[in-house]
Symmetry: C6
Subunit: 249 residues, 6 copies
């Protein structure tokens, strides 16, 4: 007799998106969000954590290595997202990976040391996740971690350790990376990111006449039936909105 089978789903908080993946990410899954510069990866990741706190009462951690915490907070206000409010309620924690790099003082609660050491980094993230009992995690971005390592190639072993720790923590996570040339099969900067992720979402552009149009493509999502269509999406005053029935061309 086959065991009764249901996959617990985690709502993404991305409007129009959950319909494409049977209602949400499989709980505990690590999802890679990849794409070129300006494709909306940061917004996607933060929206996932913010909406988790706002709509589903799930605490979440944001590890920001491209923007300072305060810049990120301010930027997200444009979507009407008041991260600070949930931080004060202990529902969101931002780990600032930018400010302290060369020894600037930071008033943030969670700050990464300047000298990024793989073990310390992982341990720190682990601790903050546990501290607020986070169910959601976004790390923005993998290349920004790699740049801060002594040798960029060490990112390989960092990612492998990462994989195990993420599985251990049980959080549903989004990692962002860069897709250098999606049309030629290069969907991650280091060629390994997709191996530690159970889902891969590509945010990219197609040029139509002289305009770049945004689209989203689900390249992989384990335990989930999903189409392989390129869906148009927008970044508007509510954040990312996917149009499952929209026309890309």
């Amino acid at each position: 007799m086959v065991t009764e089978y249901t996959v617990e789903r985690v709502k993404s908080g991305i409007q129009g998106f959950d319909d494409l993946i049977e209602g949400g990410f499989p709980k505990g899954t690590t999802v890679l969000v990849t794409g070129p510069t300006g494709s909306g990866k940061t917004t996607f990741g933060v929206q996932f954590v913010y909406k988790g706190a706002e709509l589903y009462d799930e605490p979440g951690v944001i590890v920001t290595l491209e923007e300072r915490s305060r810049d990120l907070r301010r930027e997200m206000l444009a979507f009407g997202w008041d991260i600070g409010k949930y931080e004060r309620e202990g529902k969101i924690a931002i780990i600032d990976g930018v400010s302290a790099v060369v020894g600037l003082p930071s008033e943030e609660q969670y700050v990464l040391e300047g000298n990024l050491n793989a073990e310390d980094f992982l341990r720190y993230v682990y601790r903050v996740v546990k501290a607020i009992n986070a169910k959601r995690l976004v790390i923005d971005s993998i290349p920004s971690i790699a740049f801060r390592l002594k040798k960029e190639e060490e990112i390989r072993s960092v990612l492998l350790q990462f994989n195990t720790i993420l599985l251990e923590m049980g959080v549903t996570s989004i990692l962002t990376t860069e897709a250098p040339d999606p049309s030629r099969g290069k969907i991650s900067r280091y060629g390994i990111e997709e191996y530690i992720a159970r889902g891969v979402i590509l945010l990219d552009f197609v040029e139509k006449e002289v305009e770049l149009k945004r689209y989203l493509l689900i390249r992989k999502m384990r335990e989930t039936k999903h189409s392989m269509k390129k869906y148009p999406f927008e970044i508007n005053e509510n954040g990312i909105v996917v149009y499952p029935s929209g026309e890309l061309y």
Copy 2:
């Protein structure tokens, strides 16, 4: 006088596929299943082992380096495949190559050590194959082995040893790897995987309008007459189904 000649065939368990290769894989053959992220390689390999146990009473071993055993088990339930049942009957063994990498405890029966050493790895797989008298084997995936080696380039010599041991064991095996750019002739990540395999199957996509369509192409299959056509396939609630008479475009 020419010796009477018949090739013993091993049913793949992939619906619609065996018709394309004279009824099944030549017994004892190593087959490379290659393709980009999300193309269905893991499902193809697990289906081969699962259906072997379920339909043909042939024990099989799954070496999983991308997913933990328990994730794989749960994921496969979506196709109605209860791997655990056959594990308990001693017909399937999963070797977990993920959990123990950084020293997490594992309740699995078969677990790879954290420090992947080529000789130990091969010996361990060999032992499990012998323990359950396996006729089928899938290793998912070659890049995931390579990432765990001290130097990624050592995968070359690991694969050469692999080749010999697989021949020695007499199992019919599927190895999965990554095809970085099939249209430009790069059908394997390390450029050597296809040299140790007697069959090469490509799972890939073509874009039709704004949708990626799955197809399967048999690039090589020794002792077997096969067409060189791109066949459409689906991953549905029964796993992989190939449509030999379907239209790709």
Copy 3:
């Protein structure tokens, strides 16, 4: 209650451009201007600083590593921009990164030492910014910094330090770099410049018949709604003029 949210905007001084980015750059932002040789990056950067002094009474610093200060001054006269005048008023400072490289005497007030050392370079720029209380900064260009380092690869760590110092200084900055192959996703020479910038503007060409047409594309601009269209622009007697409603083809 959501905090009242307004982004303070810094007028670019580029005619026709501010309309595309909600009125100007977000204050304190670092913007990467990238493109091939001859695409107008230097003019874009200098115009930003010059117009800041001329129209908005904001002091600015120009770090020039491709042209000597005096060449730059003379060149900009073609647009009717008398940089010297604002230098005398203490509203613009040019840091000459070319003249002294092999020990030539320079009559400039601000001159970089021949042996470019990352820390000294950053400290020097910092000091000049503070000396004139600059609100705007342009550094032309990142590859020219890299060429002057002992090892070109050190540009990676220089840029990471840069990032922090720019954030610290609070100036709105433009950095220029080279886009080797924008159509294939390579929008910066070292593949890291875009990670330290909150905005990325591409200046590039399309060939129409036998003529190259200039266009501008905003690839990223945090805290800003912007279109992803390729806008035609010209370099005429007034500097750069963008045509938001122009036809590229």
Copy 4:
């Protein structure tokens, strides 16, 4: 007075092929057969040796580095070729380059040592050629030799020595290699194989609709007038058959 000139021709045994090259390979020539995975290189080479023994009473040696001797024998039975029969008659010798690599026992008469050393390898092949007075030789494949060397780059000097020894032996030889991207001029894996061969034959595919069609192209054949056309060919129950008047598209 010009010396009377006739080139002695060696029948290839490939149906339909000799007509394209003035009746056969120039005697003593080394011919490179190149192409992607699954293009039929092994079959081409073995057919050359097998038909030599069967039809022209010329002994031949097969050096197999991709398949074990016994697999090769069995596989060729599919074409009705009983290699074992000619081995027993001393007309064909197979040198097994796979079995002994990691120390497995082999019942084969001719077995390469596990540690492939360039000098020993060449000497061994030389000895077997002399032992059966071989007129034909196939080595399948050059990359498989290279993988077994300590450093893959040593294949360069191995090939140069090879060249001299082949010339010395006077056999007509086929070497197989891989053509990574024939349409872009890369017709051999190491970029040197074509320099030691007096003939180069490309076996490749063109895609027609969703099917790959096989074709053969003679890129070089010294002392021979040949067309530069892409000829369709098949691998059917008789081995390789070339269609000089067939239509490829």
Copy 5:
């Protein structure tokens, strides 16, 4: 009040060309002439110096690293240019960078030493420029300098020093280099040449039917308004002639 602004122009001596750049090169500018083999770079550079002496009474120096002085002299006679005459009058000096490389005797007045040392090379050119009070300089070519350095990569620092010395000397200079793939953005062999030049001119070909057509494109010219059109040009009995109103296709 804006300073009165006029750019002093140096006539190029290239027929039809000065109209494209407001009457000539800005005085003291370094111009890079780039293009593939056989595109006319040497002729362009020599014509610039020769016409300077012939028509504008400006002394000039030719540094030739691809051709011996005497070959260059003879070759230019085909255009009716008698360089020797102006050498005797002290208006042109050729520095021979080929003859002495392996210690051949040379009857030339200006000869580079065999062992090319960056400092000595620059000092030597400097001295000859001063000796004849040159206003024009052509160096043909940068790759030929690089090949003669101990390590080709040292060309980077040589070019940076070059830049400063050229600025110091006040001559208007042409440097030639190779454009490996202009259509993909690679307009210089070492990726740095364009950074030390205030102007970049591309000489290239387009294929029209089975013929290569020459064209000239001004990619960059500081202090100068220029079109970005591809202009057809010829090399006829008068040297290079550009057709500003010609049709390329």
Copy 6:
């Protein structure tokens, strides 16, 4: 007054070709013949030397590194060229660069040592040229020299020395090399061969339907007016024949 100017021409001996280059190669010129495998480079070079001896009574030297002297002699008989006859008359000398590489005995008069040393190689060629008072020289091929050097990169300095010695000897020479991807600007294997040659001739193919058509393109020829057209050519029973008025497509 302009010196009277005439370029002494050396007949190529290639039928139909001299009309394209004002009657022949400029005397003393080094010409690079480049193209892919099987494009006819060897035939072009040998024809140049053979016809020199046969028709113009000019002695010539052939340095053969891809074929043994005796193979080359036999091969050329197919065109009715009896090289041996002119060798006996002291009008042609073949230097065998293949036979002795691994110490095989050679009955040839001129044999290169196995261990190819740059200085010795150049000195040897020089000596043979002087011995028969050669006016023509072909070296087939540059990559074959490079493969025989300890480090392939040393070919750079060998070619630079070569250049000087060829100029010194005063012979008209043809060097052959490989053009990896002519359509993308790569017309020589090492990217330096074209710098030491005063002429560059490309022999290549275009595909027309399923057939490769041969064409010849003169990319560079100093002191010579030549068209930039792709001319069809054939290799028939008389060697290479160029069709200046033929249709390529």
